[in-house]
């Protein structure tokens, strides 16, 4: 069994030359819920094998009750954004489709930088799944693997 998600067709509002005039960008954006001590927040995150970390906006940490005051910190580099500060916390992550659901505790980096999308990168997310990007179908499959620590 595996989770399967359609790529989100993001309308750019004009024809895109590298996509032969198509005006939508297919992106592997999937709904993911962060569960903190006080609340939860469900957002769309971009599955990104090029991202070292799973990153969400700092404001979400505040809303779900994650205190970042003494959190371990680091810096990340995003193309076009320069260096951005990160503060890490362990939170519960949850993904689901109409066939199965998975929930685990993972490290998430929170940043004050303005993000286009939350990023589902290696730390916190991708080690636990075998991800198959079905480019022709514009779908992605996530199958839990032996490292998956959750339920």
């Amino acid at each position: 069994m595996s989770l399967r998600f359609f790529y989100r067709k993001v309308n750019m509002g004009h024809p895109l030359v590298p996509l032969n005039g198509r005006s939508v960008r297919p992106r592997p954006l999937i709904p993911v819920t962060l569960i903190g001590p006080l609340d939860s927040w469900t957002d769309e995150g971009l599955l990104d094998t090029g991202s070292d970390d799973t990153i969400f906006p700092e404001g979400i940490a505040r809303r779900i009750g994650v205190d970042l005051t003494n959190a371990p910190s680091s810096r990340g580099a995003a193309i076009g954004m320069g260096v951005v500060p990160l503060r890490y916390a362990e939170v519960t992550l949850r993904v689901a489709d109409n066939r199965e659901q998975h929930e685990w505790v993972g490290w998430v980096g929170f940043t004050p930088a303005k993000l286009r999308h939350a990023t589902l990168g290696f730390a916190g997310f991708l080690p636990y799944f075998t991800a198959t990007f079905l480019g022709d179908r514009e779908e992605v499959e996530l199958a839990v693997n032996s490292l998956y620590p959750g339920t």
Partner: protein, 84 residues
């Protein structure tokens, strides 16, 4: 002294991916640059706006907590064409 412990709400998003995928991309152009709060099943937009706090206030006025929706940020029309 009283404490107010609210149960954490986990939205049921099992049908979100399928239903959200049925929304034509051109439909979302009118929300360009906005935060959109979707029903957990991806069938309805419950509130939207440029300011997320304002969207949360609109939701609360309708009796919906921010944790009961799926958030999406629709890129503005002048957004960069590609993510690198």
């Amino acid at each position: 002294m009283s404490t107010n412990h609210r149960r954490i709400i986990i939205p049921d998003t099992r049908h979100y991916p399928e239903n959200r995928s049925k929304v034509p991309p051109e439909e979302m152009l009118k929300y360009a640059g906005e935060h959109v709060a979707w029903s957990p099943d991806g069938t309805r937009i419950l509130a939207h706006g440029r300011d997320q706090d304002q969207v949360i206030a609109e939701l609360e006025a309708a009796g919906v907590h921010f944790s009961e929706v799926v958030w999406e940020h629709v890129p503005p029309l002048d957004a960069e064409d590609s993510l690198l």
